[in-house]
């Protein structure tokens, strides 16, 4: 279990998070929704050790989580940053190796090689570009690479920041499909998304963050059913297609 409890965070004087508590199990996908500036990325950065909470604590399996991103990656908490952020001049293979940096340093060569094969099976397009520069990949391919790179660390908890941002619906659907199947491999996922419908369709639980506080937590179906929540907290982005695709997506996710 990875959790934050009673976390506050200030950027200087500006309050970014206020008394936020949230938990994530290894067997589930949890969505963290909210509009721009609601504090979602701040919360992810706290969970991955990039930021230190001003108040409150981060717990891993009931104990205070190790400090700093390096120690947290070692403990199995891995963040895939927003905007892909692949290592552009490195090859696709080298990017994947960097994902497994800590494991390779520990000498787990054989296990890493197996995982690399697994990633190429999960994202076949990466296999065809394995020797090419990551910077030459398309946006969708880079997003797949960023996710595969994160998974190469063999995470127990994967923190995904806007994995569908800027992707075509087809590629986004593929990404969400991979996310949906991760808990079965023992990897819990905390999914920060603007694409609320896509995220909720693969999630077991959802949290809505508004101006630094959790306003709702619970069943994704309740969020989708509640017109007020939808309108107030998910923004207009998901309004137009809510009537048709949204509902079917959500139902597909629950099925």
């Amino acid at each position: 279990m990875l959790e934050v409890s009673g976390v506050h965070y200030f950027y200087g004087q500006a309050r970014a998070l206020s008394d936020v508590s949230l938990n994530l199990d290894r067997g589930e996908v949890v969505s963290l929704l909210g509009m721009n500036g609601a504090g979602k990325t701040t919360l992810l950065n706290i969970l991955s050790g990039v930021l230190k909470p001003t108040r409150g604590q981060v717990l891993l399996d009931g104990n205070p989580a190790p400090k700093g991103p390096v120690a947290l990656v070692r403990a199995g908490v891995v963040q895939v940053p927003e905007g892909r952020q692949v290592f552009a001049p490195l090859t696709v293979r080298e990017n994947l190796e960097m994902g497994a940096y800590i494991r390779l340093k520990a000498g787990e060569k054989a296990a890493v090689a197996r995982d690399l094969e697994r990633m190429l099976a999960l994202f076949p397009i990466l296999g065809t570009r394995i020797g090419g520069r990551a910077g030459d990949l398309s946006g969708g391919e880079q997003q797949m690479l960023a996710m595969a790179r994160g998974l190469m660390a063999a995470p127990r908890y994967l923190l995904l920041d806007e994995p569908s941002l800027g992707l075509s619906p087809k590629v986004a659907a593929e990404i969400f499909r991979v996310i949906r199947d991760l808990p079965a491999t023992g990897c819990g996922v905390l999914l920060v998304e603007q694409n609320a419908l896509g995220a909720l369709s693969v999630s077991k639980r959802g949290f809505i963050l508004t101006t630094g506080s959790i306003r709702f937590s619970g069943d994704p179906a309740d969020i989708l059913r509640d017109a007020q929540l939808r309108e107030a907290f998910l923004g207009q982005a998901c309004q137009p297609d809510l009537s048709r695709d949204g509902q079917t997506d959500a139902q597909a996710g629950q099925a």
């Binding site: 990656v73 952020q85 960097m98 940096y101 390779l104």
Partner: protein, 293 residues
């Protein structure tokens, strides 16, 4: 025939100084890629390398190879200490602040070296006896071969390090995206220190190799360091291949200019090249153009 011989003479001396510029430029690149800082103390690594080598050989009477290894290791340590003691405690992300710290470190280092070794020129012996050699009419010494050989070995060693080793790849990843690198569990602070140590080692190599040819004193690295900087800019600041190309081109240009025009203009040339590159093609020969990531 005479013209032919003169030309090969210029080529050999140009490639020799060019190699030293290349090593110096590589040092700038290493630190720039890790931190985006221009390290104005890179030239002082050269001086320190030469001075340490001199003291280990003449002062302590060590044999050549241990003196060489210890001098390189000593400057590598100095580089690491500079990062740990001068740059990191500043806890600043402002590049101007960090760059000025390197300027201060350079002045401080020069003062210390002047106190320890004095102001006079010191006689640093060549790596092997000075037997005159001839090739295609040009006269040169084994030291020229040592410079070329050790520079080539250093470049190949660096290439192997960055392309084949986990730590080297992690340093490239950090150069490309430090934030993402730390999210992968890459120890960016440790690798930054390592970059300074490597830059120190390269500077030491350059200093040990060139000072028997030029001269050795506490401030010999100032001009060489600036020329290495010009070479790095010419090649495309931050590009390793560019640093090597820029260094060799600059060395050859200087040597041809000294031979065909006048040696009085030799030192001006590097800065003329620097200005022209900055006016005409700021990204250098092999550098990445602005706006492309």
């Amino acid at each position: 025939m005479a013209a032919h011989a003169a030309l090969s003479q210029y080529l050999i001396s140009g490639l020799t100084t060019g190699s030293v510029y290349a090593l110096t430029a590589l040092g700038y690149c290493l630190i720039y890629n890790a931190t985006k800082v221009v390290n104005f103390a890179q030239g002082d690594f050269l001086s320190l390398g030469g001075l340490l080598f001199y003291s280990l050989l003449s002062g302590l009477g060590l044999p050549l190879v241990p003196a060489f290894v210890l001098a390189v290791a000593g400057v590598a340590l100095a580089g690491a200490l500079m990062e740990r003691l001068c740059l990191r405690p500043a806890r600043s992300r402002d590049l101007m602040v960090l760059i000025f710290i390197t300027v201060a470190a350079s002045i401080l280092a020069r003062g210390l070296m002047k106190t320890v070794w004095g102001k006079q020129t010191l006689p640093l012996p060549s790596i092997s006896p000075e037997i005159p050699l001839r090739f295609m009419g040009a006269a040169f010494t084994p030291q020229n071969l040592w410079v070329l050989g050790i520079t080539l070995a250093a470049i190949l060693g660096l290439k192997h390090f960055f392309d084949r080793t986990l730590t080297g790849k992690a340093m490239r990843a950090m150069a490309a995206n430090p934030r993402a690198a730390s999210l992968m569990g890459i120890d960016t602070a440790g690798l930054t220190t390592l970059s300074f140590a490597l830059a120190g080692a390269l500077g030491a190599l350059a200093g040990i190799l060139i000072t028997p040819i030029t001269s050795l004193s506490y401030d010999v690295g100032v001009l060489l360091g600036l020329k290495g900087f010009a070479a790095a800019v010419l090649g495309g600041y931050g590009s390793f291949a560019g640093a090597v190309a820029g260094g060799l081109i600059l060395g050859l240009l200087e040597s041809l200019c000294a031979g065909l025009l006048s040696s009085a203009y030799k030192d001006v040339l590097a800065f003329l090249v620097l200005l022209l590159v900055l006016f005409l093609r700021p990204s250098g020969i092999l550098g990445v153009k602005e706006g492309r990531s």
